[in-house]
């Protein structure tokens, strides 16, 4: 790290808390953001000279409030600004802020800020963009890169999202217990979307999207810090950590996708796996299972398996069965079938997915999985038809390449054992 990069880390860590408090104070997202920006610039100068303040968030909130008030005054009355030194040389400014900020305030502030980003009127892509810009503080350029759009297009998308949020009148009083629970669930879903946007990727853009997964984990930890006894938030955080732990093994040196069965498991992030497993352990004790916990438990089985052939597929089958009951969906059933194929054989799996054809007929993964089951059963011609169908429906070159690899195996019998 360079000499001043610690300041960046400290500002990034304080950001959600500070922007959230400023939003409550100014009741306007743009003013809050600009004021925080101004305070961050002053922090760069002041902290370099004086060292970090005892409470960075409180320092930033106080300086930003002053800066925000100044800018409101400046635009309204054209009053002269107070000298810079008066604002940025506050050595122990945080003592003054203790009055209005206790832990409960912080909690509701941050939840409100997160909740604003997942307003039901916003489409998923706008929710993600807004959260990354406002809460995580990623630059428009970084976000645009992750979404593979131009900076101008992303700027417009964020501006539109802010406009909708501003006209939606999010209430600023403390939420009721029921409202709070609803907000937590909506925020968890949004964090999951951020992660998936980063995780679902193809060869060309995996570098650009990687920061999204990191941000999603940071947001999940933030939410869990606010609600430390919520088993589903533990489950969500665990799920993201366990999935992301495989990141380094998911792509080879050429940037091609490496399938789970072929991944070098020594490249998995042991620390993230340890944290994910610890969180599931904690969650399970509450005996209040939910979809995030179940998905995390499935990811945990993969994480615990030292090698692909040691995977406990029967347990995964059972867990997908539980998930099917909680969240019935043909995609969940299809995922279950993959586990069934390993645990009980391809014939059982094939029987299981045939009824899904009507709903998943245009889903590439359905035909890919079906082709793989047929291939294992030695029904090569039918397998090839299914794989051809999958290639035609593939969304990304990586998906198509994966299917082509399967066809390759069809044409070279004995070259590789069916897995």
């Amino acid at each position: 790290m360079s000499d001043t990069s610690w300041i960046g880390s400290v500002i990034a860590a304080a950001r959600p808390q500070a922007v959230a408090a400023l939003l409550r104070y100014f009741r306007n997202l743009d003013t809050a953001e600009e004021a925080f920006q101004e305070a961050s610039l002053r922090a760069l100068k002041a902290w370099q000279k004086n060292g970090p303040p005892r409470d960075a968030a409180a320092w930033l909130i106080m300086v930003a409030r002053n800066a925000g008030i100044d800018s409101v005054r400046k635009t309204s009355k054209q009053d002269p600004l107070p000298p810079e030194d008066l604002i940025s040389d506050l050595s122990d400014v945080e003592t003054a802020t203790v009055e209005q900020l206790d832990a409960a305030d912080y909690r509701d502030d941050i939840l409100r800020l997160l909740f604003i980003c997942c307003h039901p009127e916003l489409p998923a892509t706008q929710q993600i963009a807004l959260a990354l810009r406002i809460v995580s503080g990623l630059s428009v350029k970084q976000i645009a890169r992750a979404f593979l759009v131009t900076e101008v297009a992303m700027e417009q998308r964020i501006t539109r999202a802010k406009g909708r949020v501003a006209s939606a009148h999010v209430p600023f009083e403390s939420p009721s217990a029921a409202d709070r629970a609803e907000r937590v669930a909506a925020v968890a879903a949004m964090i999951y979307l951020v992660f998936n946007e980063g995780y679902t990727t193809n060869v060309a853009d995996h570098g650009a999207k990687a920061p999204l997964c990191e941000e999603a984990i940071r947001l999940a930890r933030l939410l869990l810090g606010l609600y430390p006894t919520e088993p589903e938030i533990m489950g969500l955080t665990a799920l993201l950590l366990l999935q992301h732990a495989r990141a380094a093994a998911r792509f080879d040196a050429d940037g091609s996708v490496v399938l789970l069965e072929d991944q070098d498991r020594t490249r998995w992030n042991a620390k993230q796996i340890a944290e994910g497993l610890a969180l599931i352990d904690k969650a399970v004790r509450h005996r209040r299972p939910g979809p995030y916990q179940v998905q995390a438990a499935i990811a945990a089985i993969h994480a615990r398996a030292k090698a692909f052939r040691e995977t406990d597929w029967s347990e995964i089958d059972l867990l997908y069965g539980t998930l099917e009951r909680m969240q019935p969906s043909p995609v969940v059933s299809l995922n279950r079938a993959v586990a069934v194929a390993k645990a009980r054989g391809p014939a059982a799996a094939l029987d299981m997915i045939e009824p899904l054809a009507a709903k998943l007929g245009s889903y590439f993964y359905f035909h890919g999985a079906r082709g793989a089951f047929l291939q294992e059963l030695g029904r090569k011609d039918e397998a090839r038809v299914a794989f051809d169908r999958a290639i035609a429906l593939a969304n990304t070159p990586a998906e198509a390449a994966h299917i082509r690899m399967q066809i390759d195996r069809l044409q070279t019998p004995g070259a590789r054992e069916a897995s």
Binding site: A13, A56, T229, A274, A278, D281, K282, R285
Partner: protein
């Protein structure tokens, strides 16, 4: 004399480090640790998982109470620690309860260990 060196930092900051920044810090610490190991001065080193992974047993009441999260009170002081190797949190809690029964009052915070380094030997 053996000394325990307890590490404090704002975890919001350390969790905001990128993988590269984290690796860089660990590499610099590794240099110091290697020197200490050669001198036979280094004992076990543990990097704990974030406090979101912590569970606390309050044993200042009967029966003791298990709560999610770290021990956040400030009127008690840190007096010691154990490292136990368990198959899961339930087993760790069982052990913690047993210790608590032997020594009521205060609390035990149970925090999973993320990275554990057991130096070859410490001269005591």
């Amino acid at each position: 004399m053996q000394y325990a060196i307890l590490c404090y930092h704002d975890e919001k900051v350390t969790c905001a480090w990128s993988k590269e920044e984290d690796d860089a810090v660990m590499a610099k610490l590794g240099v110091v640790m290697e020197k200490l190991t050669k001198q036979g001065k280094l004992g076990p080193v543990a990097r704990l998982l974030p406090t979101t992974a912590a569970t606390t047993l309050r044993k200042d009441r009967e029966p003791p109470l298990v709560v999610d999260g770290p021990f956040a009170e400030t009127k008690e002081q840190l007096l010691g620690f154990y490292i136990v190797d368990c198959k899961n949190l339930d087993e760790a809690l069982e052990i913690t309860r047993e210790l608590g029964a032997a020594n009521p009052g205060g609390a035990y915070e149970i925090r999973p260990v993320g990275v554990f380094f057991d130096a070859p030997k410490v001269a005591s």
